[in-house]
Amino acid sequence: MVLAGRTDAFEPLVSPYRRPLLALAWRLTRNAEDAREVAQEALLRAFRSLAGYDASRSFRNWLFQIAANEARDRYRKRARETAAFGDVVERSPCATTGSAAPGPETERDRQEIRSDILRSLAVLSPREREVLVLRDLEELDVAETARTLGCSNLSVRVHLSAARRKLREALRRDFPHLEEGR
């Protein structure tokens, strides 16, 4: 209907993915402003590229592909302009020991720990993070993750393996009390 000129049909088409798309952008960028811009640009591009959409694919995964590309472009641009990501890693609480002090956990503490756990995604390379977010957090299978990222299944497996290993190491280093409580 959108392709037939019914532009008002676009909103019902993308509305179900309104939050998932923004959540994906947030997980890839870990920055609210960037996430909004990535998701926004993904929707604009989706509208422009709707004629090229392969209807045999999941629409959600197609939107995710556009968002992942946009997040990667943005990351590369940002990396060229500044070495911001390195700064983020250095500044992030998970990069310093003692960010999550052991002791009785209040709800607020648990929220902070959750937040810090997710900040450990910063130890991953952009590709590792993309693969981990799509496979483990968005629960796409390996083949669909590969398709979304435009790479091979083998590449996804290699990056996924490295990502899980690095995250395990980061959690072991930065949240030792969680490991003790296992």
Binding site: R19, L50, R114, L118, L167
Partner: protein, 173 residues
């Protein structure tokens, strides 16, 4: 399978991302090796923590006004003018003959520009007999321009002659 090999495959095994043959091999090793089993549990725990944290995390959402504004922007509409403005995604469907004609005109331009440039230092050109006399005069002064349209379907060629002000002067088939 050795512990070293199993540890290499462990991250994929922990997320059920190995093929059936390797899965069987790793599982049988892990069942018999307490050290590798402990390693696997730790990996699965880490993965579970990440997934749980992601599920429970407050992710940002659009406000209604932001979302509406985005939809308006995406579909190229402005509030109050839903009809009449062409969408950003709309494409102009050019007929095949239009593209062929444009290509013919372009090729004609290129050929003529090469011919005229090549003859500039030499004596004035002599117009071909088929060219009207006034055009021959214009051609000598090198103030004439011609456009050639070649139809790829019929092979028909039409040459339009224009003066230096691009006013129509005649045509030839």
């Amino acid at each position: 399978m050795t512990c070293r090999k199993v540890r290499k495959l462990m991250p994929l095994f922990a997320g059920d991302d190995l093929g059936p043959r390797r899965t069987r091999a790793v599982r049988s090793h892990v069942d018999a090796c307490p050290a590798c089993r402990s390693e696997l549990e730790e990996l699965r725990e880490a993965l579970a923590r990440i997934k749980a944290a992601a599920k429970e995390e407050d992710v940002p959402d659009w406000s209604e006004s932001e979302w509406k504004a985005l939809m308006v922007r995406a579909t190229g509409e402005t509030p109050g003018s839903r009809k009449g403005k062409r969408s950003a995604g709309a494409r102009v469907a050019w007929p095949g003959w239009a593209a062929a004609s444009a290509a013919g005109v372009l090729i004609g331009f290129v050929i003529l520009s090469v011919l005229y440039r090549g003859s500039m230092p030499g004596p004035a050109r002599t117009a071909s007999p088929a060219v009207p006399p006034e055009l021959a005069e214009a051609g000598r002064a090198q103030d004439v321009v011609s456009l050639t349209m070649v139809s790829p379907e019929t092979g028909l060629q039409i040459v339009w002659f224009l003066d230096k002000n691009f006013d129509y002067k005649g045509e030839q088939e």
